[in-house]
Symmetry: D2
Subunit: 133 residues, 4 copies
């Protein structure tokens, strides 16, 4: 499982005194990028290989300014041309679950402008962090 | 059905040249706020009545800088203490579907700090824009 | 003088209960874009002609969620290759001054990748909204 | 001098392929928070002691997605009730200067809702990272 640390920025909170819902999607995007890097994908815009087809997040408890969060990411499904990531965002100190997220990612050939079959090397990499949920 | 207009800001795009996925959640939050206002809920932080339990968005085609978008919002399910909103984000000019979103909202008594049964008046309001999907 | 209306989004506030400082720069960017459009510049990324060299904002009183704001923009200086915009952000209803901003913009030839002399047509346009401050 | 590391998130870029101007103000806010923590100020919203009166940034060269940036912060002026911070944002790897920022911060008594004389302990702390520019 991939883990990433993030500390809540002040501008990511809102007037209810907690982390704004839109900020969690910022953390999930960052977690995907960091996870893709571990798979050997250079995060160069000119060599982009992934399209985000869907993102979702359940907000289970509140996050707060300056809180250290751990974003856990794993692969929960691998299809022919797409795969699904599942995330948990927990308080780094207490381990309390704050949010559960997911994303469906399509492997994409930007040259041809169409989705493509996941290449074997990527499939192997994804398989290493698969965990059904 | 509730409709809201929004024009994509430059800072809401990303280096892939399109609207960043996190920006759609900004639009969906704004649509919820505007919809709640039509139900007679003053969007005053001290009188807040709603908790966002879940948000999701499917990204169907790309949005671009300065594009005029229409965010359509309707009620797709009403429970005892929560309800679900469904959204479509379309290009205002062509009507092309860009994204489909949803949100689960819990009616919350901030004084007691617990979820509460949806009051009749709110239920009536929600019923007026129900459309199953 | 150019005027633009904006309503504060919830995610643009922060845990101090007011508009976060970074959000004002979002409004100022939007005001520049809208002003450039009035000068006949299509805001197409492929035909971009302007580089932001500097941005500044003085925060004079607090803004709040859902507040209607008016962003006033005028030209305060025109140089050979650059010009300065000055902004006031006021509460639309009371007229109270909330923030004062400014931006220095360089006219840029993206083909040659260098700053360029402001063309006459643009200079005329800028001159129409000049107001020294 | 205080130093902070930040890596550019994808959502902080824009359709021109570089870091959006508004994102630099996010980094500067984070740098202020981290610097205040080194002065012993707990960044608790209920004990907040600082008001941002002004923020500015000169954009000297472009930043890019995934770039490691170092934000340097020092005190450039100390007044009776306010002080000025100056920042440099450089590429962590090359040291190239990307942006120069500044902020004027007012010491504020939130109980009395008025600006207050900078207490001696804070003044001593600020003095330790003063560097005129």
């Amino acid at each position: 499982m991939h883990e990433m640390q993030v500390t809540v920025r002040f501008c990511e909170t809102d007037a209810l005194g907690h982390v704004n819902n839109t900020s969690y999607f910022i953390y999930l995007e960052e977690a995907r990028v960091k996870y893709f890097e571990t798979l050997g994908y250079s995060m160069d815009v000119k060599k982009w290989s992934f399209i985000l087809a869907s993102a979702a997040c359940d907000f289970l408890s509140q996050g707060y300014f300056n809180q250290a969060l751990t974003v856990k990411t794993w692969v929960s499904r691998i299809g022919r041309k797409s795969f699904k990531l599942t995330h948990e965002i927990v308080c780094t100190h207490t381990g309390d679950l704050i949010a559960k997220g997911s994303a469906i990612i399509v492997y994409f050939d930007f040259g041809k402008q169409e989705s493509a079959v996941i290449p074997d090397l990527l499939r192997e990499g994804l398989n290493q962090s698969i965990r059904e949920t």
